[in-house]
Structures are given as structure tokens and as C-alpha cells.
Symmetry: C2
């Protein structure tokens, strides 16, 4: 199936379905319905059925979805039936928190390399990870065919880091710096910025 055929807004919802199914499984549930799943997520059952129908369905009329089976299918679709090595660039408070977060592995990701340009940090460790010199980033990304980078440097340096990462062959960037990154069209970028989310909400507070 050509991935270009699926609207991105549908793709965006799939990880949420996967997350919710994993939670249901953890709670001991074995099957679910699009209605049950929809109630958990705040999306209509019709929307869920329509989204999943892009990939061929997976439910049986009347018996609903096998949670384990649907999890497997969604992991295949999202390419997280494997573990992606991630390079994390920037070890401030946030980079430190992310490096210590233990929730990536079970969801298809592993922080594999950590970089910073501060001589006081290079060579020190966070957990099992030695902080590496940013100067070596390009070489290490290339050599290890890293495709996913997290940028947790400040706004002023984020574009530089992105440029180097893209030159090294990265094609997915999770950007925590409060700046819009310019990258080639073939490179995925997602942004995480609490201030944008907070201001979105305060619009509605009178």
C-alpha cells in the first residue's frame, strides 16, 4: 500500500489507538470494540472504524477487535515492531530528563547516543550513556545509520543541529526547541513546545 494514500490526520491518530490498546491489554482486557476504544479516546466509533479501514479493517462484525492482534498490526503499520536508535542532542534539564526516561524502549525507541558541546559535560554519564562531543555527532549518526534525532538544545542552536543531522542522513526529528526548523521535504519534523499548548488553552480562559 502506498503510504501517501493515507491522510496524515489519520496517521496521527494511530499512535493514540496503539497507546490506548496497550493500556487496555495491561488492564487485562482481551477484546475491544470501536465504541469502547472511542470512549477511551474521545473519538467516535465511526471515525475509528473509518481510520482502520484504510489498512483493511481488523475487526469482525459483532465480536470486535482482538486487542493483541490489533496492537501487532498497528505496530507493523507504524514501524515500531523494531527498536529505533535515537540520538539525543543537548543535555540541559530537559535533555537530562529525556535521557533518564525509561518509557521509550517498549514503544519502539531507545536513546542510543547523547551529545552535548559543553566540555564540562562531555565524557560524563547519564545512566549507562556517556555524553559524547557534538563535534562527533555527524560521524556517529552516519556510521550507525541513525535515522531519528531528538533536539533539546536552545532555539539559537537548533537549526544548526538539524542541518548537521540531516546531512548525516537523519530523516525524522523530534524538536523541543521553540523554533520552526527548515529541513528538506523528505525529512519528518515534529515539535513539542509546552508554551504553544498553554497559549492555545488560555485563549479560551476568560
Amino acid at each position: 500500500m502506498d503510504s501517501n494514500q493515507i491522510p496524515d490526520i489519520v496517521v496521527e491518530r494511530l499512535p493514540l489507538y496503539l497507546q490506548t490498546l496497550q493500556r487496555l491489554l495491561k488492564e487485562g482486557q482481551e477484546t475491544t470494540s470501536s465504541k469502547d476504544l472511542g470512549n477511551r479516546i474521545g473519538i467516535s466509533a465511526a471515525q475509528i472504524r473509518k481510520d482502520l479501514s484504510h489498512f483493511g479493517g481488523f475487526g469482525k462484525q459483532g465480536t470486535g477487535y482482538s486487542i493483541k492482534y490489533l496492537i501487532e498490526k498497528l505496530e507493523d503499520i507504524l514501524n515500531v515492531n523494531q527498536v529505533w536508535d535515537i540520538a539525543l542532542v543537548g543535555v540541559g534539564f530537559l535533555g537530562h530528563a529525556i535521557a533518564n526516561f525509561d518509557g521509550f524502549q517498549n514503544h519502539g525507541f531507545k536513546i542510543a547516543y547523547i551529545f552535548d558541546n559543553d566540555p564540562g559535560k562531555i565524557g560524563t554519564k547519564i545512566g549507562n550513556h556517556e555524553i559524547l562531543d557534538s563535534k562527533k555527532m555527524k560521524e556517529i549518526i552516519k556510521k550507525n545509520k541513525i535515522r531519528v534525532v531528538m533536539i533539546t538544545v536552545d532555539a539559537e542552536h537548533a537549526q544548526d543541529v538539524a542541518n548537521h543531522a540531516v546531512e548525516a542522513g537523519v530523516d525524522a526529528i523530534l524538536n523541543y526547541a521553540p523554533v520552526k526548523l527548515m529541513v528538506p521535504e523528505s525529512v519528518q519534523v515534529q515539535n513539542i513546545d509546552p508554551i504553544l499548548k498553554l497559549q492555545h488553552m488560555t485563549y479560551y480562559l476568560r
Copy 2:
């Protein structure tokens, strides 16, 4: 103007416009055009003009926008021409990083109260903030009319924290826990979850 008239997808873009304008101002620019702004954000000039026209425009044909003026207007619209006190609940690695982040103040927010339920943490300090007992959260939120809460506890406890916050009068929640919160319709919720963003991108990686 009735805020219900503006599509939420437009509201969502306004903080991004504000952020970009603030960056332009910092770089010494005094005026901008919808084309210039659009190039910076990766949105068409027509879309920006259309979004801003919901609020009456603000640009003059041919001379573009005064950046300072547009920043003021957007701050008014987003209600960030004031500083919102935030209660942060949960001091793990992430809560700690957020408590130490100094970028909120200039954008309309201040971490004012920090809560945790760990006796080993309660009473200790992060910067100037004493970590308070979660048991006192409801009372303190109520007393100080806090309307915005950040939840950085784990998935299992997030809904409980949200319930208490809502009962105390909070009407905006920024949720970092990987779980969908159930709240009354009058309460705003925004979620931040790096795993959902990463899986969204790996879909496109073949």
C-alpha cells in the same frame, strides 16, 4: 467577539505566529509581511491573512504588519498579556526539568506551586520553590484561584490528579502523562507525549 466563532485550528496557529514574531523582533526586525511570516513558519501567506482576518486584520496593504503591534494584539487575543500562575504536579525527572525551565515567564506563565506525594521530596526545594504535599493541592489551588495545571505524574495517577484539579476549579490542564484524561467539557486539555510524535514519524520511515 464570541470566541466560539473562531475555528480551533485557527486558534492553534496563533501561538506559533506569536512565537515567530517574537523571534523576528529579537532579531531586530520591525515590520513583516504575511509572506515573510509564512516562509518562517511553513504556512501560506493567504492562510495567515485569513487567520488574522478573524480578529480584524492588523496589516496595512503594502506596508505589512508592525511586529510590535501584532505581538501586542496576539498577546491580548491569547490572554497572555498577563502572567498565569501554574501548579505543577509530579516531580520526577520531567517535572524537575519543567520546574527549572526559565522560558515560561516571558510568555505569560509562571510555575507558582509544585506538588508531589513523595515524603522524601516534600519540603525540599527546586530553585526557589518548595515542593508541597499533593494532599494540599486542592486547597491551595482553590485558595489561590489557580486555573492552569501541568500534570507530570505517571499514567496511573494522572486521572486522579486531574479529578482533584478540576474539583478545585482548574480549567486548563497540560498533561504529560501518556493517558487520555476524562474531564468536563468546560475544561481544556492539551497533551504532550513524545512517543506519539515519534510513532507518527516512523510511519513514514521505510
